[in-house]
Symmetry: none
Amino acid sequence: MSEPVANFEDVEHTPQRLERARTTHGDERRRSLVLAAYDLIAEKGFEDLRTRDVAMRAGVNIATLHYYFASKEDLIDGVVDYLLDLFSSEASRDLQLDFSTPLGHLQAMFRNTVYRMRTMPKMFVVLGELVMRSQRHPELEGAMRRMDEQWMHYLGWILTEGVAQGQFRADLDLETTAKKIIVVVKGVTFSYVWSRQEVDFEGMLQIVERLVLPEPGQGEL
Amino acid sequence: MSEPVANFEDVEHTPQRLERARTTHGDERRRSLVLAAYDLIAEKGFEDLRTRDVAMRAGVNIATLHYYFASKEDLIDGVVDYLLDLFSSEASRDLQLDFSTPLGHLQAMFRNTVYRMRTMPKMFVVLGELVMRSQRHPELEGAMRRMDEQWMHYLGWILTEGVAQGQFRADLDLETTAKKIIVVVKGVTFSYVWSRQEVDFEGMLQIVERLVLPEPGQGEL
Amino acid sequence: MSEPVANFEDVEHTPQRLERARTTHGDERRRSLVLAAYDLIAEKGFEDLRTRDVAMRAGVNIATLHYYFASKEDLIDGVVDYLLDLFSSEASRDLQLDFSTPLGHLQAMFRNTVYRMRTMPKMFVVLGELVMRSQRHPELEGAMRRMDEQWMHYLGWILTEGVAQGQFRADLDLETTAKKIIVVVKGVTFSYVWSRQEVDFEGMLQIVERLVLPEPGQGEL
Amino acid sequence: MSEPVANFEDVEHTPQRLERARTTHGDERRRSLVLAAYDLIAEKGFEDLRTRDVAMRAGVNIATLHYYFASKEDLIDGVVDYLLDLFSSEASRDLQLDFSTPLGHLQAMFRNTVYRMRTMPKMFVVLGELVMRSQRHPELEGAMRRMDEQWMHYLGWILTEGVAQGQFRADLDLETTAKKIIVVVKGVTFSYVWSRQEVDFEGMLQIVERLVLPEPGQGEL
DNA sequence: TATGAATGAGTTTTCATTCAT
DNA sequence: GATGAATGAAAACTCATTCAT
């Protein structure tokens, strides 16, 4: 199996490993401010996000925040970058995900999402806030669209591989199917944010599997 | 077919018909303020919702707004009520939906959603804003949860009828299936808000139908 | 003697007389804020002009200032208008100025300026501040230029009349002479602001008179 | 002709010649900061003068500025000294001014001013800013007054010499005439700053000459 | 000497809310 | 009912200044 051109779960290098060594004091301060903003967006939403609170949580003066970020909007851009990094970061090794087959990738996508919902629920709330904010902020809309496209790209690769390897049904419409899968994963995500109650991920995964795998009876023909 | 205890599409009475007669001038003012707020939430989100803008759009003085609504929060409550009314209002007759069978109900739910996305897209943006706001406003969380429960109830009724009438597969797990359907519909909704591009509703409906209908090959045995 | 087309000392209608009756409460508030700003500019210059101080001096809340003036710049515009009105307002009747001849007009211009320096010295300080500010504010530069032009216009009329009536020398170059007179009056003004000590106005007036009146010896020929 | 006690055009030694040898790196830094401040005062006025901008224009860190100047006020003092130096610096040799007679000195004063307006207009804008600032800064008022006194002193010397040498009219009131001349030169300066348009310097010079020179007709008697 | 980092005190401006009329 | 006027509290952002290195 060839490497994916773009892997949604691993599109960018994990910054921690490559840059940690060269992280300056300023970078750390910036990051701590971004993290404070990220937390506060998750807790209060953009509606009640106050730079003063962000600075306080990061343990610095409000003027210090403006030393690192020209404006509130600039700080939010930092949060967006951080969230995008988070989403495209590698899945935890603890999950022992099996990436050896296309179906494995599909399952990994679901299970990694479940894992993240349990371990880092803020991520999805902040994502929701950003999606809503993207309604009125064109540059954010662009970022969201790109996130979508990377996702589509990754799914396209999985499906192509699955069909090529004969694991998925031969008559699969790549684009249509990828879109459907994304709708399902977004449904899972949004349902979680909406009702805070766990969704039957495995059940939803089965739905997706039924979409891509050959029908059992058919195989016998 | 017995009447559903609660019909998601028609849970509450259409206010127009029953109350129009008694609608006072004050009610109209309140409504025009709520509508202005609703529009502005769709356009600017809660983040940039200003009572002064609401008053201006409604064509009244800011003090007048406070004559009708004790506070901004009170006005938002009005918007929530309005949105809940909208969601539970009857589907347009133009759609010529067929409510004669359980499957018809299911299809109607999808097609009505599609229709609303096309004709009243603000509704879904405001819904998204409210879902995000419910993260930090317990009373709103309650409203969202109740919306969910009504929906579950309605779907429960459809599925029960479908099984009883033999239209749906006999081994259907009512609660699990209802939840899955809701996840799919929420996925459709959220995808629309996320990427602004139309979703393949009919394709998603087929997925749901496959969930509830007996498997073609199996029925013949 | 025909009426001047534009009289620098009386270009605009005295607003007090015509509009006093219709002065609303809001107009008074606006005016008191402008007056407070005017005083503070005279005392502290634009460098140390603070809206908070203006509001305090006018006896209102800082938010009230913004109820009447959209911004600090807007308030300053109000001060500019006020100063322009002041400069083009009629001379005090107490001065018993003689406007019956062109020379009388010229003398009146000087004596009215002297009178104003003694009774309303702030006027000249604020004018100086505005002239300096006009270096970097094009719209203000326009206002200053217009002030100059009105002045030129009035002087042009005086000189024309003086020549026509034979009171001034026949070979007078109108534009050049008017400009020289303005330079002298500006010199008087600026000297006053510079050194705070009284200038020999009558001596300066004599210089001007020597410019326009026929030379004594020449008349005899 | 004896040397003037104080020569307005050359009151202080040109610092370049005498101190260049001992100019340290620190002096250069101070000077570059003063020059940057001078430029920015001319461009933005005291109202919008920011130490950070000064440091940036001088190409140093804001903290470096405070290493050389204890405070913003201290830096401005440096600018005042610089401007005073500029004003009392020798006239350009290119002008080929004739200082051999008292009238020559008078003409040189005017022509040097014209030359400076053309070649270094910032000087007059900064001067205007300082004059306005002196309204509220007593120590600056003192500096402005001293500048005036030096000027008076120089003019006093010119006039005394002129009368003694018989070039100027014998009945000249020294103080009154010196003051009048200063008012005229200030008028020229202020007019330039006010309206940005060139003034008829030669015409103004003639007015001054008429003040000091014997009347043509009278001499013949 | 020089500076990156940090901040206290302030700056203009905003906003939901109140109140007399 | 409706509103013009008014405001306390807070918002984002600024700025001269300090200090450890």
